[in-house]
Symmetry: D2
Subunit: 360 residues, 4 copies
């Protein structure tokens, strides 16, 4: 079972929300910030975005106009310190997350933070400590956990439909690699892309990863990714779980046919697997082939409903004084796993998570 931190002081802190909508401050008016604003605007009885911040001031203003948010600011500190704000949604660039989390926690705000908390494990631990000390809650943005397909896999495993898990296979392919400029500062495939899959592996299995058996990387999609960004674009990581099962995560920066996100778990009583999402389910048969349209090409389409449910769950947990389902610890583990995978690839050996963590 995954551990869900239950913090009694949090319970108290959130009691205040039970009767009126949670007052939200959004930090970051980029793509994902706007997705959350849109989702929140559809649940006005649960939450109200009262402020939005972006260091590009026009972006904050535009979002404020579009989503009827009363106030837009340039400096996220105004959000964190506003007495009007019960909870902050952190969607700013990754390297600002740590600082904002610490400030928000100290200000007693409930926190939703996009992944990653940070890529430095020391700073992650500091941030988690601050959150704990403040008695606030923090939910991390692993939206796939709220996708209907992945949830059904989790359910099949946790309800015993497939018995004791034996193996796991995750396929995670992006339609196309991001720009080189992005890749150069992304932290690399294991951190930037595969942390989502590490989280999914833990979530689907309901068991912790104890060992990175191997991490095989390759630079096949575009030589510049290797030469310029010093990164791989294709990787297979083999994992061993605390429950004895073994599994693989296969990541690739490119899939000509669209966004490919699948998982299969096989166990003693059977298996469960999911496919992709499509814009429609029409089948056309002509003289050449039996075909259908390509799967959704963009994570924001694929996970549209997941983002909404993620936000709704966060807000409902706050209102009902329940612990949020994706904790700071859940944000930390995938980063550990990314370090372990990188080490395994570089040193060409099995890396036990325990061993690795003791190093830090």
């Amino acid at each position: 079972m995954l551990r869900y931190t239950r913090n009694p002081s949090t319970m108290k802190a959130t009691t205040q929300f039970s009767s009126s909508p949670v007052r939200i401050g959004v930090i970051g008016a980029g793509r994902i910030g706007r997705v959350h604003c849109a989702a929140l605007s559809r649940m006005s009885n649960l939450a109200q975005v009262v402020m939005i911040a972006d260091f590009v001031e026009q972006a904050a203003q535009a979002a404020a106009k579009e989503f009827r948010i009363p106030r837009s600011v340039k400096d996220w500190r105004e959000v964190v310190h506003s007495p009007q704000v019960d909870a902050v949604i952190i969607c700013s660039p990754s390297d600002t997350h740590y600082e904002i989390i610490v400030a928000a926690a100290r200000a007693g705000k409930q926190i939703f933070c996009e992944k990653p908390i940070d890529y430095d494990l020391g700073r992650i631990d500091d941030a988690l400590a601050e959150v704990r000390r403040a008695g606030v809650q923090m939910q991390i943005g692993f939206q796939r956990r709220f996708d209907a397909n992945f949830r059904r896999v989790r359910e099949a495993v946790s309800q015993g439909e497939i018995g004791q898990p034996y193996t796991l296979h995750i396929v995670s392919r992006d339609p196309a690699p991001p720009p080189l400029a992005y890749l150069k500062q992304s932290g690399g495939l294991f951190f930037d892309m595969m942390t989502h899959d590490f989280d999914m592996a833990r979530f689907a299995m309901g068991s912790e990863i104890v060992e990175v058996v191997s991490a095989a990387g390759a630079n096949l999609v575009d030589p510049e990714i290797g030469q310029q960004a010093g990164d791989i674009d294709t990787a297979i990581v083999t994992l061993r779980f605390a429950n004895g099962a073994v599994g693989t995560i296969e990541c690739c920066r490119q899939a000509s046919y669209g966004y490919d996100q699948r998982i299969e778990v096989h166990g003693s009583k059977g298996s469960v697997s999911i496919g992709n999402n499509y814009p429609n389910n029409a089948t056309v048969q002509d003289g050449q082939s039996v075909h259908r349209d390509l799967p959704l090409n963009f994570f924001m389409d694929r996970y549209r409903d997941a983002y909404a449910l993620e936000m709704e769950t966060f807000v409902r947990c706050l209102m009902e004084g329940k612990p949020v389902p994706v904790t700071g610890e859940d944000g930390r583990v995938p980063v550990v796993l990314a370090y372990a995978a990188r080490t395994s690839m570089k040193e060409r050996r099995v890396v036990r998570i325990g061993e690795f963590m003791s190093k830090l």
Copy 2:
């Protein structure tokens, strides 16, 4: 091609909306009225619901609260005559549609009306005449036309992907029959249920139906439907189209596995077909079978996105001064076809639509 009435006076009338959101009055705060309110609340830059009416006043008040609608009233006449309202959405009981349409048209309001306009062809003609005279637009609520699957079928046909259409097959099954009390006053299966399918047949084929070749009805699901409501619960109607194609619509009031809405068109270059929508796409294999969860069981889930696109299209057409895509004439034809089907079943003969219409 389906005919879309383009009315120049309408164009002028709608020009006013181009800069600000359309101000909407909703009539009827029941299930479907609330669906439209929810959809409209998500497109606040396009439309604003300014009033809602329901003869059950509490229903109007509750909806007003939920969707932050400034004003709720008991009498629809207040909506129709309010100077604050540009367009009305008619979601009240079917037998009130005629009267409201006429009043709204005379008041110069743009109109969205749930099907049916009426089941009396004379009153339908009156209503259409009033709308035409007033130079307003009226869109009829055939939401399936806005469903991604059905649209893809329409596209395959209209783009020539399957060549010249030869045959059509529509399957339309409800999860379970409505209560007998409803059935008794529903107008019968051809009117209550199959008008949606008649509309889909025209839409998918892009050709008018010229002949009901036969209409075979049966009372198999529940004997009370025959004995108490004098209705059938299962029917197959065979149609001939102006383009020479032939087709069938198969309707049933009951499907143990959920809401079943499919279509297939076969033509000279190939075929296109669609399946149902599911809550997830997970496949579970165990010792008994390879299985997946049942399709969505409820039309409001299946057509959630279709209802939203329908409403958005209505509002955008008003804002941009374009003709709405499902006209009063599109609302009239399925009723004619329902009469033709009923006649064909009763008199056990081919009914030409032309012949039938001249009778009226």
Copy 3:
């Protein structure tokens, strides 16, 4: 339930086969005759083809050589009168079936006859009477009944998996129309093509057809089929069954994507449906679409296993003294239904099978 004639005298007659392989004479060395030879050659412990006849003598010789058949002849009478032959397989042109059946029955041979027995109901009745009188068995070549997919549908219906049947839909599309020369003497679509589907309708439902509600024909695939052969190429027939269910058969002479043979039965507890057979199940996703190879294009590929099981069943029934599963009566009914459909189309009316049969 379908009626399977159980003839006690037949039982006795077939007892002789129980210990040694059935000695078979094949009449007709064309495509289908060779399919049966190939199937029989794979079950040498059950049957042995001892003779083959074809009025094109070289065809008989070639088949004899290919399938190691000891003797080839030109005149089918030699087969029918050979004391070496226990059973005849009639694969000669349709217009010879009647004469051969009568002769074979009189000679006391067991009979397998490709459909149709004849298209003249009087001659069919004569042939059935001769078979009955002789106390031999006759199985008719409706090979679809032996296809794994169609059998699974039959099983789902007969085992109550879908409850009481409400509706049936059969799709039957050939890849391309046969040559005009063939069409001109084919008897027309209802006789040449749809008799297979009428048989399948009875088989799948396990209930007799009591009414042709309508038969809508069209000439859409190729104008010459109408002008030269006086035939239709596309048809939808609506049927009513003794069990109250209604159904449709949709036939078309052309499907660009291959051989399309599907069926769906919907009932009180659910539905069962089948798809086509494919040369492989690989899915390819590329930048254009998600696609798979076309279904099998030829009935001999699609029904390869069905033909083998059909022949094995025939031979086993003879060896074990059991009644064959597709009787002369099963060969007769589809012809009656073809007449009823033709009448319904021409006279544009409902045709009750009872009414029609009394006319004959």
Copy 4:
């Protein structure tokens, strides 16, 4: 590209077959021997089984009777030295393969041998040397290469449909583990089960494996497999190919739902994947789920057609003097890979195939 040894002396040797059927001697009348006999009996114009041997004499006699083989013997040496025999099919227990191959090669017979040649690499090399020296051909029984689904994957890769391969994933699950007695002398999962998958990996990719990145084994299905047979029952092997691609093979001794054999290759232009084979394609929908029958449960059903094509290809190559498609070298490599995988698992490290081979 896979290397296909082309031996000019072989070409000459096989010329003799071009006009008459190849005369076959089958060694081993067990399950697989009988499968080959059945396949060969259906292609009598290409091959004739003239002798069958089994050290259980009754087994040889029974098979001879069933497949009309003129002669049955107890000692395989009689087959190998018979002047009536052109080619031998070796289906005897694995530990006899080496000796029979050597004797058959020395006797100038063409050879088809079930996998493995042997599990001792020295003996494999000896056997291959003898075959080479004798100028005969030897085909190894990797029947999956002749399965329509796997062939379609190979075709998609070799024809460039998916571009440059990036990743491979093979799933290989047996319905249930074999008896412990068998497992104890099976050589272990990597040798007994995964050699088939290693062969498929090479075949599908058209590129050699250069590295076993890791081999993660587990004993999850049945503790006795570990305790009594000292074996694992679940394993994931990660591979690196000469073309730069990476891939995984996931093997499990148990799948509650049947025989599960799938593969996916992802590349620069797209992906190709296959599913399982089923006894029928019927879908049943009822109040519980949408389901279909389980996949085929037995490798002899799943690969029925593959075995027949394998045998036909062997015989045709002999008749036409062409090199056989699965050579002795193809039989050797998977054994090397099994050793590499076992070493990788035991020593918990990356094993380069080159390094490993030099050890031998």
